[in-house]
Every structure is written in C-alpha cells, then in structure tokens.
Subunit: 230 residues, 2 copies
C-alpha cells in the first residue's frame, strides 16, 4: 500500500504551472495546481500536503504571506520558485521557513532533482522506524519484539526454539548440520552423539504445525542436517 505524495503548485503563470505539474507527475507524485494565493489557501486547508512549490509574485496574496501561513502551522516542505533573483529575496525566503529557493528561469532536471532530494529527507523524517522483520512463507519473525507469528497466530517459543528459527530464517537456503546448529545456538563445541538438537527441532516443528497444519516449514536433509523448506 504505497502512500500517494501530494504536491501543491502555487504559480499564477499558466505555462509555468503546467510545466511544474508535468515535472512532478513524471516523478510519480500527484500535483495540484493553484493559480492564486487565495486558491492556494483553500487547498492547504483541505489536504495534507507533502510539498509546496511556491511562486512569490501572486495575485490575491503574496507568496511571503502564504509562506508564513504554512510555516506557522505545519512543517510542510516548501520550495520557492521565483523570478525575483536578488540575493536578499533568496535569503529572506529561506530564513522565513522555505527549504529551497530556485530562480527562474529554471532547469527542469534541477527542479526535479531538488524536489526529490527534499522529499527524500522529509519522508525519512516522518517514516516510522522500520521493524526489524524476517519473513518466510507465513512465518513473520520480529527480531526486536522476539515475536513469531505463523498464519496469523502468535507463537510462544522457548529461547532455544526461537534461536534455531532465527538461524534458519536468516539463511533460508543453507543446510545447517547439527554441529552447525549446536555451535551457533549453544555456543559450545558439539559432540556427535547428541539428541538435543533433534528434540528441539521436533518441538519447534510441532508448534509451527499447530499454528498451520497445512504447511511444512523445516526440511530434514538426511545425514546432513536441516533447512527451511522453500
């Protein structure tokens, strides 16, 4: 479920507005043109915007006023796009809360790159920190919560079972010999005639198949060890 990214383009010149909208659409964002300050305000109220492109010379309301409205309320990223190219205007714009300032005439590629760059940083900011998850078939393994969900059912595994499952799931194709497994999970050398690993495997399989009887997750490779069944 991808979130759509909305960009408000506030620019009275029809051609330039269209051009900007085209740039935005090409990057797979969703542009909304606004041709006056007052129109812009209506849109600003209505939606949650991810980015505003703002011309400074506008009918109805100056760009500076709009900028103030935006920055006083939210922290929506703003890029000013303006024909006023004096240093003073630039500095003032940036200091009043704009994130970038592009002078007209602008280079299409640069505008696109600056939009992407700003959204990249903004998205990183609002994105919830990603969960540390590993998935195989319908097994979901959360490494922070140390939680295992199979077929929608939450399992309570013991440490050994959990550690074995993590090991298998982080190398889904590898065959783990008993020696392998033992030394990784127990952190001590393996002495051949040991049934311990087998028992834990059996218990783990048992719990997994109780959560989903129609699926096999762990494969026995005779004489070699175990592996996730793919």
């Amino acid at each position: 479920m991808e979130q759509q990214i909305n960009v408000l383009v506030i620019e009275d010149d029809n051609d330039i507005n269209q051009l900007l909208c085209r740039i935005i659409k090409k990057s797979n964002y969703f542009p909304q043109p606004a041709y006056s300050g007052t129109e812009a305000l209506i849109y600003l109220e209505k939606k949650n915007w991810d980015l505003v492109l703002l011309d400074l010379m506008l009918p109805g309301m100056t760009g500076e006023e709009i900028l103030e409205k935006i920055t006083s309320k939210d922290s929506i990223p703003v890029i000013i796009i303006s024909a006023k190219s004096e240093q003073q205007t630039k500095v003032k714009g940036l200091r009043s809360g704009a994130d970038d300032f592009i002078s007209k005439p602008f280079d299409v590629e640069e505008v696109s790159a600056r939009i992407d760059s700003l959204l990249r940083r903004y998205k990183r900011a609002i994105e919830a920190p990603k969960r540390n998850q590993v998935v195989h078939k319908d097994i979901q393994l959360d490494l922070d919560a140390k939680m295992v969900v199979v077929n929608g059912i939450s399992l309570t595994l013991t440490v050994r079972e959990y550690t074995i499952l993590v090991l298998l799931m982080t190398s889904p194709n590898k065959v783990f010999s008993k020696s392998n497994l033992f030394e990784s999970v127990w952190n001590e050398p393996f002495h051949g005639d040991d049934n311990t690993v087998n028992v834990h495997m059996s218990n783990l399989r048992n719990k997994l198949s109780k959560a989903n009887p129609n699926e096999e997750y762990i494969e026995t490779i005779w004489g070699m060890g175990y592996r996730l069944k793919s």
Copy 2:
C-alpha cells in the same frame, strides 16, 4: 544542556574553508575543517555530524566518493559546494543523496541561510519523535516532571524503577534482556549471575499493580527478558 551542532567542512582551498568555518561559527554551530577526502573520512568515523559541507574537487578522494560513503551509511545532511556549476553535476549530486548544491562563487548570506534551513528541517526530523509524554495503557509518563500516573494514581518510583519503566515504554515492542536493561540503566557491563534487575522488576510490578490491580503491564519472556505487555 544544549546539544552542540557539529559541521564538517570538506574543502581543500584554505581560504574558502576558513570562510565557510567562519560563517558556521557565526551561526553558533561548531565547524571542523577537513582539507582532503581521506582526512574527512577519519572525522566522519569519529563523530556524529549534523551537517557536512562538501567540495567536489578534492585531493585524496573525490567528493562523489565521500558522498557515497556518507549516504550509504547514515542520513547526515550534505550540502555540496562546488565550482563545477554545470547542470549535470548539480543534478547528479542531488540525485546521489546531497540535500543542496551551492555553486562557487557563493554569497555568504545565502550559504548561511541554506545551512540554517537544512538544519532546521533536519532537527525537526530527529526531534519530532522525542515527546515528553509517553503513554501505555493507563500509564502516563511525564519525562520532564519525571512523574508516573497509573489509573489516575500518582506513583512514587525510585530512580531505578523509573529508569527501567522509561526504557520499556520508549520501545513498547522490544524485548529487553537483563543484559540490555542493566547496561542501559546502570551504565556498566553486566555479569550474568545477577538478581538485581529481577528484584527491581518485581518491585516495579508491585507498585504498578497496586495502582491498578486489574492490569498487567510487564511481561516476562522466559530466557529472553522483559517487555511491555500489549
């Protein structure tokens, strides 16, 4: 306790580097000059930087390589400051992860404004999740007042109990091992056979359940640690 803001200035020209450092100092940030790519890498390892100013033409290592190193690891904001002013270079820089691109010769005020603007957004990003109120079930935790209210009843916790509760509540899903907990709360290495954490947990649970006998807040994950019960 104000956090100092560190800015790494990677620029081989001595005069320009000094000028940039002066701009930064004037805004009350802490500049660190680096005069080559290799020198920059050393600094990058050593500290947590809030911003990097990066010249593209460098001895030892190109700016592009440094940019890649930075963006591949962290998300430190980067402003490129370069004499290469072709559109292509700009776009490429921005697309490879830079947040801004300033062409030489630059205007001092504009550089300063762009630095402030970027840091403004960056700080907002990292400070946003730092709320002073944390809530879980009917536990309200005020980090400023260091007060805990459960079920409407104010609790008096000891420092240890309080710190443990804060830790649990700031990562509601995470399982904290005793080692985890001990090292976070006590700030010293954990030696396995220690019952201290257990005792504090018991006391904390005791106080919590006195405030609300009908609710369980802390879950024991056998052999793994503790976690907030959700």
